[in-house]
């Protein structure tokens, strides 16, 4: 599904974010990318979103050459990917309901679909009682659950979760991981970056370990080992 071929990202001589990374992620996988801060995890996922371009090498999403995408096609690509971030990236002037409705409007869903699907997905992440709250009226865990609801609402083929538990306590972290696992069980590919040992060990699926921009381990059913 996703193919990195000899991808490097060099900002300048002293700052190499990615160093000759080659890896493949197949559909339906749950991949955890682990490593210290600055290991290149976020740069790697940004390349999938075309939020960053490689200095050399190619990144493919199926047959799409991501760095070469035009603006219009970029929008189309992003609609196939759901994203969850450490800082949630919710629309602060929109309610929980509107945040999700916006993502549906963006892909051109009808008002009827929005009205029926939004309450449903909010129920799925246990936020039915916060439907008309603004993000700043919700806790960190609730905001992240809302972000996940937004990420899955359009049934994307891939979910990218970049440090989704970085700002959360242990209980909320556990909940988020359970939700992500459930999403993966339903067939969606999940790419998770984290430096939380507990999270990785509890998932027990493929783990890619990065250090200084290089992939140093790639285990089928791995643990957090550095």
């Amino acid at each position: 599904m996703i193919y990195f071929n000899n991808v490097s990202k060099i900002y300048n001589e002293d700052s190499v974010a990615l160093d000759d990374v080659t890896l493949t992620i197949t559909a339906g996988e749950f991949v955890s990318i682990v490593g210290h801060s600055g290991a290149g995890k976020t740069t790697l996922v940004k390349m999938i979103l075309a939020d960053d371009v490689p200095t050399s090498g190619t990144v493919f999403f199926e047959s799409i050459n991501i760095p070469k995408l035009k603006n219009k096609d970029l929008t189309k690509l992003r609609r196939r990917i759901g994203m969850v971030f450490q800082d949630f990236k919710l629309l602060s002037n929109k309610t929980a309901y509107e945040n999700i409705a916006f993502a549906m409007e963006a892909v051109g869903k009808s008002n009827e679909e929005i009205e029926s699907d939004v309450p449903h997905v909010l129920e799925l992440v246990d936020l039915s009682n916060k439907m008309f709250h603004f993000p700043n009226q919700m806790s960190g865990g609730e905001q992240q659950r809302l972000a996940i609801a937004r990420a899955i609402i359009n049934q994307p083929e891939l979910i990218i979760a970049d440090e989704p538990t970085g700002n959360l306590d242990a209980i909320n972290t556990y909940e988020i991981v359970q939700i992500l696992k459930k999403i993966n069980d339903l067939g969606t590919t999940v790419v998770l970056t984290t430096h939380n040992r507990g999270v990785v060990d509890s998932i027990g699926k493929r783990v890619i370990t990065m250090e200084k921009g290089r992939v140093i381990r790639d285990d089928k059913s791995g643990k957090y080992i550095i």
Binding site: N71, T75, R78, K89, N93, F102, A106, V107, S110
Partner: protein
């Protein structure tokens, strides 16, 4: 269609939720529109005054006493064919005498002298009014030239008072064109300054939403879906600012109309009320376009991701 409805709705929702930022933007647009309205009114006063001054300028062609009226009428017709001439009025010798007597009715010695002469000592004259003050010179030259059209006309003309008035006319001409140029320059400067201020305020308002714009793009919203609501917001600034401006100028012009009409020579309130529709359209268009274009440009920077 649904897309457009959603964009417009989002614009209104964003406007009401942005609270103080929205109202700050409205305030700045209101100031800009007030400047434009004030300039419209000032231009009206300026043009009115200049027109009045211009109206007072004319050139009289005095004829010798014994010139037959037919010759004068012939000259009048040929002058009327000049493109520069706005209007010509003929005052016959008899009328000239009547006007002279009226003007000097309290000047007893003059009237007495006139009575003693018995004959009418005055000739008829033509009052020539040009379209522009600067055109009197060419009319005077035409009269001097004695061309085929007005053969022998120089012999019947006693004097043309253009040469007497030349300095005054020239100076007036300079003042008028100077005033118009200065008015235009000040207008342009004020308009440009207010546009820059408005643009920057709207840019600040959008800068605050920088993160949101990035998130919307990441969620997969098209450019127009992100940009649209901001442009709608810009248009709302313009519409509200127009209403506020029109309301502010109502009592202001009423006050000026009551107290300054003599000084300005023009009742500003009457002018404002009778031109209300045109003024509304001008400032509504300026306000809405200013708001929408500023938003359009300001958001461009954050969209290209």
């Amino acid at each position: 269609m649904t897309e457009l409805k959603r964009i417009i709705k989002a614009g209104f929702v964003n406007f009401s939720r942005s609270g103080i930022i929205s109202w700050a933007a409205v305030l700045v647009v209101t100031i800009t529109l007030s400047v434009i309205t004030a300039i419209i009114l000032l231009q009206a006063v300026l043009h009115f005054s200049l027109d009045q001054i211009k109206d007072k300028v004319d050139v009289a062609i005095y004829f010798n006493v014994d010139v037959p009226e037919s010759k004068i009428m012939f000259l009048k017709e040929s002058l009327e064919n000049l493109p520069e001439v706005e209007k010509i009025s003929y005052i016959s010798a008899t009328e000239a005498l009547k006007l002279f007597r009226e003007r000097h009715q309290n000047d007893y010695p003059t009237i007495q002298a006139l009575d003693e002469i018995k004959d009418n000592p005055l000739g008829g004259y033509l009052n020539v009014k040009a379209k522009e003050v600067s055109q009197y010179e060419s009319i005077a030259n035409f009269l001097k030239s004695d061309n085929a059209l007005v053969l022998g006309s120089t012999s019947i003309i006693d004097k043309v008072n253009y040469n007497q008035n030349k300095t005054v006319i020239d100076r007036l001409n300079n003042i008028i064109s100077g005033a118009q140029k200065l008015g235009f320059l000040i207008t342009m400067i004020l308009v440009i300054v207010s546009i820059i201020i408005t643009f920057n305020t709207i840019r600040l308002a959008i800068f605050i939403s920088k993160e949101e714009i990035g998130v919307m793009r990441l969620v997969g919203a098209s450019k127009i879906r992100v940009r649209g609501p901001f442009m709608v917001e810009g248009a709302i600034y313009g519409i509200i600012a127009t209403i506020v401006t029109l309301v502010i100028f109502w009592p202001m012009t009423a006050y000026l109309g009551r107290n300054m009409t003599n000084f300005l020579g023009l009742n500003i309130y009457d002018y404002y009320v009778s031109n209300l529709i045109q003024i509304s359209i001008i400032i509504l268009l300026s306000g809405v376009l200013l708001g929408m274009i500023s938003s359009f440009i300001a958001i461009r920077k954050y969209l290209n991701k």
